[in-house]
């Protein structure tokens, strides 16, 4: 019943299992505490109620500007502008999310796509503990090399309440404990899409270490995303997260 090839797969899985069995939970918790402090040595994140980030990318010669406004714990709005081509806004008010574009109208975001936004929102709360988001965090024994950094590989499975069983893989460099890479599957309006995000050029902004340049690799295509501005605790009205009137 157990053919040679099956046996080989079974042995390989055992082997792989041994490699990634990794740290015990206590050691992981210690590491998580260090990671939390690494990019926020002065504990600023606990005070962040709102944040505004302006980023810019050029893909295939096309400039794309994005402004993200977060009001924690559960409101976000993303305005994307491709000058001369189109604009698009996505907003989430803590319960419902919409995508609005003059060309394609208003679309309520539902199902897995909405779950994906909710998970993303919670995960990005500056003061959040990873243990509050992920029910299982596995750190591989073996360090992986990301660019010039030796990194911990952390495989994080979201809690059931987020309706996502796909783990997010995070890579933190061993020296500075800053996030260097992330692999994630995003549920988009067209279905699940694998993405790889590589972070670099960490600079101290608002007393925190913030990656000012990142690369998104999706379907083999890479986008360099540059942070132009990052503000915290700016007054933001709740109304900007609500559904706009349908035209």
């Amino acid at each position: 019943m157990f053919g040679k090839s099956n046996l080989m797969v079974f042995v390989c899985l055992l082997f792989v299992g041994n490699i990634v069995s990794g740290m015990d939970d206590n050691a992981v918790n210690v590491l998580l505490a260090k990671i939390k402090k690494a990019d926020d040595p002065e504990g600023v994140k606990a005070t962040i109620k709102t944040q505004i980030q302006k980023v810019e990318t050029i893909f295939s010669g096309q400039k794309i500007s994005t402004i993200t406004i977060d009001k924690f714990p559960n409101k976000t709005r993303i305005d994307v502008n491709m000058p001369g081509v189109m604009t698009s806004t996505t907003c989430y008010n803590g319960k419902t999310a919409w995508e609005i574009s003059p060309a394609t109208g208003v679309r309520e975001i539902k199902g897995k796509e909405l779950d994906s936004i909710k998970l993303d929102m919670v995960r990005r709360i500056p003061s959040v503990n990873q243990r509050d988001v992920f029910e299982k965090i596995v750190v591989a024994d073996k360090l992986e090399t990301i660019g010039e950094f030796k990194c911990y590989k952390m495989t994080c499975t979201p809690k059931k309440e987020f309706n996502s069983t796909t783990p997010i893989v995070l890579y933190y460099d061993k020296e500075k404990l800053l996030l260097r890479k992330m692999n994630i599957v995003v549920d988009s309006k067209m279905g699940p899409m694998k993405m790889e995000l590589t972070l670099e050029d960490y600079k101290k902004v608002n007393k925190m270490w913030v990656s000012m340049l990142s690369t998104i690799d999706q379907m083999g295509m890479k986008l360099k995303v540059k942070v132009l501005e990052y503000k915290i605790n700016v007054k933001v009205d709740d109304s900007i997260f609500e559904k706009p009137k349908s035209k």
Partner: protein
């Protein structure tokens, strides 16, 4: 932060085309680098793993020595595009770093049109003759035509319609006139009968406001007349989207006999969809039926097919799948409360490509519209533009569209429910045969 931008990658798909070139020093090194990067990109992104595909490898190996002998940019682009054409997939092409003058493109074409592949790649768009300084400053740089569209009728390239008060109308150009040449480029329709000559002619007639078009037409009596007309029928701003060559947009509407609304639009970019929606809402919402004319529409952003469908149906329509190497992506419409829900006809022809084909297929598969005209061009692979390290621009494919019935659009095209072709005799009587057939169906 990463989440927000992800949707925009999938927006970057269109059809379109075009050329250009500049001479370079030390050309052999540039040629080799450009070829290497072109090949690597094509293989890396294709929706099927072609790295071990014998046919593709052989084409590449056979073409490589010749390509490396290219002495200038024109030769390099042409020879690489000839190789690409042999792969048999649409939406892959190499373009030079900087657009060359249109005149050069046409003259090159006249000299070298021995190969169908290069012809289809090279002639489209960017056209035109001597640029005249625009007299009206605010219009400078706007896209404009002479106020006519063309169609194929009985194997002749004909004038399909003439916009009132346009340069074409003022010069006495009439429906049914036969176009023999534009800028000295003679339309030899006996060769390459499957090429969308009307689409190419429409592209050649478009240019910057105030520039001049010379054309030869035969009137109903068969008398050849030379015209030199200024492009002053404004079509709006050029659509500039990243490394894609610029393209002009047109959205026109009319209320036809029997209170049937008619919209002609090209291509499928956000500006056109916004205009289409506005026209329907402001002018055509009470029409008994609506015709969307997508003849000679080269496509656009893929999400615009979903957007258009959303303005034309209040129900979510399954528009098929986009197969990529990593994952299949679902295409569904974005239904709008204010959508037009009356009877709908969509007109297509052999010059209807890409996003416009996806839209037509989706409308047909969901029985939301009846499709009139001719089978679409069947060039429907989602693609993306890259700027290579040598500055050359590469459009290459990363996906394939699959209809809800499992069929591909690429190569097959979308077959009309009601096949109908333009007739020269009808045009001479002022009747657009295809549009009239759709109108009559809606009027019943």
């Amino acid at each position: 932060m990463f989440f927000k931008i992800k949707v925009f990658i999938v927006l970057l798909f269109f059809s379109c085309v075009v050329l250009s070139a500049e001479a370079q020093e030390d050309f052999s090194a540039i040629a080799e680098k450009t070829l290497n990067e072109t090949w690597a990109r094509i293989i890396k992104h294709n929706f099927e793993d072609k790295s071990a595909n014998e046919k593709w490898q052989n084409i590449y190996k056979e073409a490589r020595p010749g390509i490396l002998k290219s002495r200038n940019s024109n030769e390099l682009v042409r020879s690489i595009n000839i190789m690409i054409a042999k792969f048999g997939q649409s939406h892959i092409q190499l373009m030079p770093p900087v657009s060359r003058k249109v005149k050069k493109a046409i003259s090159l074409q006249l000299k070298t049109r021995s190969d169908k592949a290069s012809l289809s790649v090279d002639v489209q768009k960017n056209v035109s003759g001597k640029a005249e300084k625009a007299k009206s400053e605010p219009m400078r740089g706007k896209a404009a035509g002479i106020g006519l569209r063309t169609c194929m009728a009985d194997d002749k390239l004909c004038v399909l319609n003439v916009v009132p008060d346009s340069p074409a109308a003022s010069a006495g150009v009439k429906m049914g006139d036969i176009i023999h040449s534009i800028h000295g480029f003679k339309f030899d329709l006996s060769k390459y009968t499957d090429l969308p000559w009307d689409m190419m002619a429409d592209g050649m007639l478009t240019g910057n406001y105030g520039t001049r078009v010379s054309l030869e037409l035969a009137d109903p009596k068969g008398e050849l007349q030379k015209r030199s007309l200024d492009r002053k029928a404004v079509q709006g701003s050029w659509i500039r989207f990243g490394a894609m060559p610029k393209i002009s947009g047109i959205v026109e509407y009319e209320i036809l006999k029997g209170n049937i609304g008619y919209i002609y639009m090209t291509p499928c970019f956000p500006q056109q969809i916004i205009q289409m929606h506005k026209i329907i809402t402001d002018k055509l919402k009470n029409c008994k039926g609506l015709i969307i004319d997508l003849r000679n529409n080269p496509g656009g952003m893929i999400t615009m097919a979903q957007g258009m469908a959303g303005w034309l149906s209040d129900k979510e329509l399954d528009m098929g799948k986009m197969k990529t190497r990593n994952c299949p992506l679902q295409l569904k419409s974005y239904p709008q409360e204010s959508a037009y829900i009356g009877p709908l006809a969509v007109i297509v022809n052999g010059g209807t490509f890409s996003t416009a084909e996806v839209f037509a297929a989706g409308m047909q598969d969901n029985k939301r519209a009846k499709i009139f005209g001719e089978t679409t061009g069947g060039k429907c692979l989602p693609s993306v533009f890259f700027v290579l390290s040598t500055g050359y621009r590469l459009q290459t494919v990363f996906g394939d569209f699959i209809r809800i019935n499992g069929e591909r659009i690429e190569e097959k095209g979308v077959k009309p429910d009601v096949p109908v072709m333009s007739k020269h005799k009808d045009l001479l009587s002022g009747i657009d045969t295809v549009r009239e057939t759709a109108r009559k169906w809606l009027d019943k």
